[in-house]
């Protein structure tokens, strides 16, 4: 279990990183390394060149500008978990980060890496979609922005093109009328979710006005669960949700069988989690985590 003889370079600036990526079609960026290093050591991946962007200052911003929180791509999971700013402005993120793996992995793993890798069981891509985040992407050609819900395109597949890097994420601050929910099932604390859901809902008079539900761990890639959103619209209590909610879950996600678990089991678990998310939406005050 030794990596192949791969090339490695550590650019000193973002511009230099873009130049290297532009020159090498087969180059792969390395951020926190929590997925890539494993793939390299198991020889599941053998890129000609690994471009280590893990130390680039330009990708480490962490601020709130007006109604938007801006997080650099190199924001570590641990920073998300421990941030007072996020707890106040985007409490869903620290709530989700508590479920990401273990301390050693959270210390190194990055937000940008998680989004770029697009693991279907990862927490942060689902949160990005649910929160209506915008992903900022850069390359030698300049920068562009894309909504999270169009960024994710399939299993481990995103809109990111060769030569591009995620620079950061812009997330709207949660407002008082918003309620959030996050629920996942992992066999052990810190394991990949076998099913998970996150929800962001606008409430008025204890009634759901609009909601965004996003599943992970039981679907190919994070995207808005529109039928579930429609099914919960106007609900005044979690108990008011009937069998049509379970049907909606089944229409929005269609998990496939994986080693050790059937798709129908995952779908069942997703319906259970959907109801638990509803409980959270109603049980919590808008800003309560």
């Amino acid at each position: 279990m030794k990596a192949s003889n791969i090339g490695y370079t550590r650019p000193r600036s973002l511009t230099q990183a873009f130049e290297i990526l532009a020159e090498n079609d087969a180059a792969v960026p390395l951020a926190g390394g929590q997925s890539l290093m494993v793939a390299l050591n198991m020889r599941l991946s053998a890129p000609q060149l690994v471009v280590d962007i893990g130390e680039l200052e330009e990708l480490s911003q962490f601020s709130c500008v007006g109604d938007t929180v801006v997080l650099g791509a190199l924001t570590r999971h641990r920073q998300i978990l421990e941030s007072e700013l996020l707890r106040e402005k985007v409490p869903l993120l620290p709530k989700a980060a508590a479920h990401i793996a273990h301390a050693g992995i959270r210390n190194r793993g990055t937000l940008g890496g998680s989004l770029a890798y697009a693991d279907p069981s990862a927490e942060l891509p689902a949160c990005a979609v649910a929160l209506g985040a915008t992903i900022v992407i850069g390359s030698l050609q300049g920068t562009r922005e894309i909504k999270a819900e169009t960024f994710f395109k399939g299993l481990f597949e995103t809109d990111l093109q060769a030569g591009e890097l995620i620079l950061g994420v812009k997330i709207p601050v949660i407002v008082a009328s918003t309620s959030i929910a996050f629920a996942e099932l992992a066999r052990r604390q810190g394991d990949f979710a076998i099913a998970g859901v996150t929800a962001v809902a606008t409430m008025a008079q204890a009634q759901i006005k609009s909601a965004q539900f996003v599943y992970f761990g039981c679907t190919d890639f994070p995207r808005p669960a529109n039928r579930v959103a429609a099914a919960v619209m106007g609900l005044k209590s979690p108990l008011a949700a009937g069998a049509e909610l379970d049907t909606a879950v089944g229409q929005d996600i269609n998990p496939s069988d994986t080693a050790g678990m059937r798709g129908d089991t995952k779908r069942h678990l997703a319906t259970v989690l959907t109801r638990r998310a509803l409980d959270q939406l109603f049980g919590s005050e808008a800003r309560d985590v």
Binding site: K2, R187, R188, D191, G260, M261, T265
Partner: protein
């Protein structure tokens, strides 16, 4: 939880019965451990294997030319190059008539019979270079249909994996005692279970590894081996490669966990030795984690049907067990993969007082990795089968499961006795352990809480499991097997000139702390402080011949040998002190490293002074006085098959019926392993075993596709419990010393796992009982729990 210890007169000392941490801990925690992979020898090369990607496939051709040209590569070897150097492996147990196995070559040549079997080896300057080259070996495969489970193996319509055996049955053994048919016919209640146990791995922190160093100068072979039994491997290497035994030396350095898995014999490890002999260079191979999942001996893979007959007044009258184990593609030489099934059927029902017993075990060959020794072997199966049936029977009779057990246990007044499965019970303590356990876990309170929770729709379960642990297997077991396995162990003690003691033991330690216990025995027996005893172990060239570590034998056998050596050394020291002081030896004793006069209680001579005269001033002694300050003693009980330990465990679980997730709320053990030398390490052995037992029932599973491919091979997808998944574990003891030894210790290495598996099985099924659901398929994944609930509802 500590217990008081009654010490025999004259043996009272500060070390035995004291909670002393493992002596190597500080060294290991300072990063100063010396594991196989830490060791670098001059001129050493590294080996990487190419393995079959198929469960069953014909090898049409192997092209190694490109690999040979790679940077750093010294050799590329196939079975054609090295198989002839080594006698083939043959995993047949001569003490099991009818047991059959095919001859196993070092590496597959014409056909690979499991996914992971080695086909070629690359030897290079570094492991990375060896892996680079291994990727370039071009093998033309022709995939063949695989026998992937016991049902297929038993079906005679399927081809035999090894045509020389003409079917896939390795072993078929039955027990039939009493009139079982009549007992079941007459029974008031008959309960039945049909259970499935998936495959597991041992998952040692340190994977297997070895450095084979063949010396072309003198034809000697030294193997530095992460193995539990250096002596076993010395004999194996000598025999298989035709090297005189005195020229073979096997050294076991620090080892990060064995659990029985590192007791087995691996063809690929012999291939490393063959490569070293072939090239005349030291060669290192350390299995990586993926290789460990593929080829470390697997465990379990059993289907068991069992039933129990009970009379109207609540007496168990008979039991019947039918076990099938799928043991992999070959027999396991030296350790024999029929053992799980044999233990399962010979120990099932053993704690309970009935005579009519019928059982059958079959071991069958499948195109999977070999099954081998693993902590508990077949004993957890026996425990689970029995205790689940006992609980079902109690429920059918509307009796409390604790009272029902008490009514049916073989009590002290019935001992000694022989169970219908063949177990001789002499110093077991079922009632005592159960009483202690129910008090410890507050059983009555848990039952009443359970009722309250059930009314709220919350599923909680309480499980009790009684178990036997066959520890320290002896000559009557291994002797007739045909394998050269030494069930004795030995101890050499030397008084150092400064008055401290050097102990060389044939016992090995993979993290259990056995060496600490042995030092405690030596310290108290000779009369020195624990800190003044040094330990050397794990070298087949220097200690008395012995077994090493398996079957929880370290303290029972190695401790007794240390006691005998300690007695002898003490006598020799006292004889010398007597000659020096002109005092009768009978009036002298040793305490705290000082010779004392028993009549005055005064210290009259330090051991340092005794040693100084014994080693450097023999001229001051009487001319005929024979100074012997190095002594060796070996111990084995010639006619004892094992030392039977026992205990009872309790488990408390809660099941989320929406998700199928199980939470273990509490786990308790009342354990009787005879005399306890080190209560701290005994408790931790029990706790560690319990963690592994909970893991087995709730998490661990080698996931195979229907075509026989192993689908999980990392610690991300093969789950074992972590600290957060475990409850607080409370351990108490009943101490019934082993009657046949002076030390009185039995083994304890497997007790935790055996009892925990039983208790968790029973507790989860107890929790599901209000729904009418049963779970019979290990591990209890959320899906299996949900399926069980769904089956009951439909």
């Amino acid at each position: 939880m500590d217990t008081a210890h009654a010490r025999k007169p004259g043996e009272a000392g500060p070390a035995i019965g004291t909670r002393i941490p493992r002596r190597e801990l500080s060294r290991l925690l300072h990063g100063a451990g010396r594991y196989v992979d830490d060791i670098k020898l001059p001129r050493m090369l590294h080996l990487a294997f190419v393995r079959s990607p198929y469960p069953h496939a014909r090898i049409k051709s192997i092209d190694v030319e490109e690999a040979r040209q790679c940077a750093g590569v010294e050799a590329v070897l196939t079975g054609a190059d090295i198989n002839h150097m080594c006698k083939p492996l043959h995993g047949v147990a001569l003490h099991r008539p009818g047991h059959r196995a095919a001859m196993q070559p070092l590496m597959a040549t014409e056909r690979a019979v499991w996914q992971g079997q080695t086909v070629a080896a690359v030897v290079a300057q570094s492991r990375a270079q060896a892996e680079d080259a291994a990727e370039l070996i071009d093998i033309d495969w022709d995939e063949l249909p695989a026998i992937v489970n016991a049902e297929m193996a038993i079906d005679r319509g399927n081809p035999a994996i090894h045509s020389e055996l003409d079917d896939n049955i390795a072993f078929d053994f039955s027990i039939d005692n009493g009139d079982v048919a009549k007992a079941f016919k007459d029974a008031a209640v008959v309960v039945e279970e049909e259970l499935r146990f998936e495959r597991q791995v041992a998952l040692t922190l340190e994977p297997r590894g070895l450095i084979a160093d063949f010396n072309t100068g003198d034809g000697s072979l030294t193997v530095i081996h992460s193995h539990q039994s250096p002596f076993q491997m010395q004999e194996v290497f000598s025999h298989h490669f035709g090297i005189a035994e005195h020229k073979v030396r096997v050294q076991a350095p620090d080892i990060g966990g064995g659990f029985g898995m590192k007791l087995n014999l691996y063809a690929e490890e012999l291939a490393v030795v063959a490569s070293s002999i072939h090239l005349g260079r030291p060669i290192k191979f350390c299995a990586d984690r993926l290789e460990s999942f593929l080829t470390d001996a697997h465990a379990r893979d059993h289907n068991i049907k069992a039933r129990m007959a009970v009379s109207a007044d609540g007496r168990i009258t008979a039991m019947e067990v039918d076990d099938v184990g799928a043991v992999g593609a070959y027999g396991m030489q030296m350790r024999f993969n029929v053992a799980e099934g044999m233990m399962a059927i010979t120990v099932s029902g053993a704690p309970y007082n009935f005579d009519d017993y019928k059982a059958r075990t079959r071991s069958v060959y499948v195109n999977k990795n070999l099954v081998g020794m693993y902590r508990g072997v077949g004993l957890p199966l026996a425990c689970i089968v029995t205790e689940l049936l006992v609980d079902r029977a109690a429920a059918a009779l509307k009796k409390d499961p604790v009272e029902f057990r008490k009514q049916n246990y073989r009590g002290k007044s019935m001992l000694p006795c022989v169970t219908p499965g063949g177990q001789r019970l002499e110093t077991v303590s079922f009632h005592e352990c159960l009483d202690k356990l129910t008090e410890l876990m507050d059983y009555g309170k848990l039952r009443s809480e359970q009722e309250t929770f059930r009314r709220k729709g919350i599923l909680r379960g309480v499980g009790i499991a009684t178990f036997l642990e066959q520890t320290a297997y002896g000559p009557p077991y291994y002797g007739p097997s045909g394998a050269s396995i030494s069930t004795q162990d030995g101890c050499t003690l030397r008084l150092e000139p400064s008055g401290s003691i050097r102990c060389v033991t044939s016992i090995t330690d993979q993290g259990q702390g056995t060496l600490t216990g042995i030092a405690q025995v030596v310290a108290d027996t000779v009369g020195v402080n624990y800190e003044d005893v040094g330990l050397v172990s794990g070298d087949s060239a220097i200690s008395p011949y012995g077994g090493g570590a398996w079957a929880s034998r370290g303290m029972a056998i190695g401790g007794e040998a240390a006691l005998k050596a300690g007695r002898l050394l003490k006598q020799n020291i006292l004889d010398l002190a007597s000659a020096i002081t002109q005092t009768p030896a009978a009036n002298l004793d040793i305490s705290n490293g000082q010779v004392i006069n028993l009549q005055t209680g005064m210290q009259i001579l330090s051991l340092a002074e005794v040693a100084r005269i014994g080693y450097f001033r023999q001229d001051t002694l009487p001319p005929a006085f024979d100074v012997q300050l190095s002594v060796s003693r070996s111990f084995v009980a010639n006619s004892q098959i094992c030392y039977l330990a026992n205990g009872v465990q309790g488990c408390h679980v809660e099941i989320d019926q929406d998700t199928g997730f199980i939470k273990v709320l509490g786990q308790w053990a009342a354990d009787d392993c005879g005399r306890i030398i080190n209560p701290l390490l005994v408790d931790e052995q029990v706790r560690g075993g319990i963690a592994q037992g909970i893991g087995a029932v709730l998490f661990e599973e080698c996931l195979y596709s229907p075509e026989g491919y192993l689908q999980n091979g990392t610690m991300v997808d093969y789950l074992v419990p972590m600290a957060g998944d475990l409850p607080d574990i409370q351990v108490v003891h009943v101490e019934t010393p082993e009657a046949s030894t002076e030390l009185g210790a039995k083994g304890v290495g497997e007790a935790g796992l055996i009892g925990a598996m039983g208790a968790v099985w029973v507790a989860v099924n107890d929790a599901l009982a209000p729904l009418g659901a049963k779970i019979q398929h290990q591990p209890f994944t959320p899906e299996r729990v949900l399926d069980a609930i769904a089956r009951a509802r439909n």
